[in-house]
């Protein structure tokens, strides 16, 4: 073999070995510490407790410039759990980013405003916000099992929906939680193998963040005037709606699991449908017709009207439980008004106040006057 070819082969070999060694080193370093923002590790939910920070909001003009954000010793937003809780009317809100309200200061979130209203009427009320940005019902189940059950509140207010749209089937996530290597197919085998490595898990987290961004689920201010109109043909609408069926079934199962878990612990779950700016209507602030507005620039993406229809079927799942548990139809009662939202799902200070008003008027009926409800 000519010397030049040998030289090239030697270099290729050293590059190959070097890349493998680099991957191994990275995996070892990440096993010591992984700064990946995933709040779930080995099936365990990690909550950041005793956080207190003030950060400057340079991205969303509709919100305050300075945001005071804190989490108490439980890892929730809100007042510390008082000692002597026998007569406490304890409530915990569970949800994703629309519950956590990361870009609203502590006293401006809707759970905090709701707490103030309820507490004013009954000082025995204690309310904490266990919302975690990005959580789906999978995360809610973990949150309830790992944290909320220990506190045993009287009520859990569960606002869920948008993060669960087209979410993967529970079987896959269960496999993630079980941490077993799955040999039923090559794809699942590789996926479960990847989940066993810190590097693989970090790449998955990164990928999930990108998917969320493409779905429009990442916090960013929406200017309705800049959105392009994109009418979706009826055939695509029908196809998209049909596509939801398996996901809806799985979603219903997870909600049932949450209700069962709560009831077994003596907790009353209150389901809250997901409000949003999705739908087909004229925005009272900009006077724009929103229905055809394209949500993301993804060519396979949806417009507001279609997304509104999709979200409604997930809200319908919650509504279907109204005979079993209290259901507050916030999606129906919350006005579709861009003054209340800075993007399609996350609320401004005014929106948080409106949500708190609606929930307060609904909740006080069966929290403070349950006998009247039963009559």
């Amino acid at each position: 073999m000519p010397a030049a070819t040998k030289n090239i082969l030697r270099k290729v070999k050293s590059i190959g070995f070097g890349i493998i060694a680099g991957i191994i080193i990275c995996e070892l370093v990440l096993r010591i510490y992984n700064p990946s923002p995933s709040a779930i590790r080995n099936g365990k939910l990690l909550l950041p407790a005793n956080q207190k920070k003030i950060f400057t909001n340079n991205w969303i003009n509709k919100l305050d410039k300075k945001i005071h954000y804190s989490r108490n010793s439980l890892g929730f937003r809100g007042p510390e759990l008082p000692s002597g809780t026998a007569d406490l009317l304890s409530i915990i809100t569970v949800g994703g980013s629309t519950t956590e309200c990361k870009f609203l200061s502590d006293s401006c979130t809707w759970p905090s405003r709701l707490y103030e209203k309820l507490h004013h009427e009954n000082p025995a009320v204690w309310l904490n916000n266990a919302g975690i940005d990005g959580h789906t019902t999978f995360g809610h189940i973990l949150m309830i099992k790992e944290y909320v059950l220990k506190i045993k509140p009287r009520y859990i207010l569960l606002m869920t929906g948008v993060n669960d749209v087209e979410l993967d089937q529970p079987d896959e996530f269960d496999r993630m939680n079980e941490m077993k290597i799955n040999t039923s197919s090559v794809k699942l085998f590789l996926k479960s193998l990847v989940n066993h490595t810190e590097l693989g898990r970090s790449f998955l987290t990164y990928y999930q963040l990108r998917v969320s961004y493409k779905k429009g689920l990442i916090h960013r201010e929406i200017n309705l005037n800049e959105l392009i109109d994109n009418p979706v043909p009826d055939s695509i609408i029908a196809k998209k709606m049909d596509h939801q069926t398996p996901y809806l079934h799985a979603y219903r199962q997870r909600i049932e699991q949450i209700i069962t878990t709560c009831r077994q612990a003596g907790i009353t779950p209150v389901l809250i449908t997901q409000p949003s700016l999705y739908g087909s209507y004229a925005d009272p602030v900009t006077h724009l017709l929103i229905g055809n507005k394209w949500i993301t620039k993804d060519p396979n993406g949806v417009n507001c009207s279609l997304m509104g229809k999709i979200l409604e079927v997930y809200n319908d799942v919650l509504r279907s439980f109204s005979q079993k548990v209290p259901v507050i139809d916030l999606a129906m009662q919350m006005p579709k008004n861009s003054a209340y939202f800075y993007d399609f799902t996350h609320v401004t200070n005014a929106g948080a106040e409106k949500i708190a008003d609606i929930l307060f008027s609904e909740l006080r009926k069966f929290i403070f006057y349950p006998d009247k409800q039963n009559q």
Binding site: I15, F17, G18, G22, I23, V29, P35, N50, T56, S202
Partner: protein, 468 residues
Amino acid sequence: MLFNSIDFLFFFAIVFPLFYFLPGPYRKILLFVSSCIFYMWFIPYYIFILFVTILIDFFAAIQIEDRKKLRVKKYMLLLGIINTCLVLFFFKYYNFFIESFNFLGLTRIPHLDIILPVGLSFHVFQSLSYVIEVYRGNIKAERNLLVYANYVMMFPQLVAGPIERAQNMLPQLRTCNHKITYQDFLTGFTRFFWGLFKKLVVADTLGSFVDSTYNNYGEQSGGLLLLATVFFAIQIYCDFSGYSDMAIGVARMLGFRFRENFNLPYFATSITDFWRRWHISLSTWLRDYLYIPLGGNRNGKLATYKNIMLTMLLGGLWHGASWNFIIWGGLHGVYLSFEKAFSFGKRKIKNIFSKIVGWLITFTLVCFAWIFFRAIDLHQANEIIRRIFTDSSYRNILSADKTVLSPIINGIFLLLIIEWLIIRKFSFDAIFEKKYGEIILVAFSTFLILYIFLFGNSNNNQFIYFQF
């Protein structure tokens, strides 16, 4: 365009193979054209200012060499100096002096809306050193305009240094026919990603914490402000040395050798030692073209302290048109003068305890000076210092947000491990020459690339030293 941008990735992916395969004369043209494109990515029409200063200095240097009369040589030297300093003064210091004179009530001149050309301070100093060296007879004037233009504006070091000397760069740029070896490419590649790691994983992660703490300094405890100051010290080191590493790495991939600009400055055990390790290209420039011409330490102690103070004050002013930077420079001048007076910098410390004490004092003094560097104005700097020394609620550090601190501590820890174990002892060239050295460098690069991809903070792209 920034080194840490997709634009640069595509840019270099085109430039590098062309440079590799082209012969010398065409390489010079390619280097010039690509540097123009690189510079014009920021504000295109500013390139004309650069061309004018290049032409004037090119002409001035040739005249200095060709003319016999000393008086003419001096005039040409003055022309070269005034040419570059005038541009620097107008774009960088005009508003500062106008506002200062207006504040004192001496004038009422409105300030102008001027955007500072990128890299102005760096290429001005580079041009100045060339003209001065020709005048001193240390180098021959460059007769090829293309070569000289490449010296001033070659893109790897155009916007934030290192401030290269003509003695080092002109011989490399004249031929441009060098072979780019596998060692050049691999060591340059690794160096580039090491710099990018320092910038995106360490500096920018620290920057988020420092910015949110310093921007809300009125609501922060003394303890958190102290922590933010220490973090800023690490941030600016990683930001600037990271950029230098990227510049040196890119140049090396093209087969050019730049001088080192940083040598683990926070391992210094005295301020004198610190300035031998921090921004070496600037500190040696100030020494050779300011301190020594002023007289250095040749005219007695008082003159020496005066020269040190003047050099450091101007060094501070070089960083920015603000009293904050002047005070920062002045503080270092005081530190250096003090060490000079007591011969601290000269003594070789052997005792480990003395080394630790020396390191602690040096790091503390440097961090104190950084407060002025980072603060937006004197009022903020004074308030931060007051809070650090009077607010005793240091327990707030323990209740600081751990989800924010954890990746910061992780980044600093990785930085320390790599710098202490590897960088301090071995250069990338030394590693390459070892057995399995290539595999080690590829492994290190792979690790850096993966880590940057997953955890690099891309929210704060700008380099701190770009503003200079």
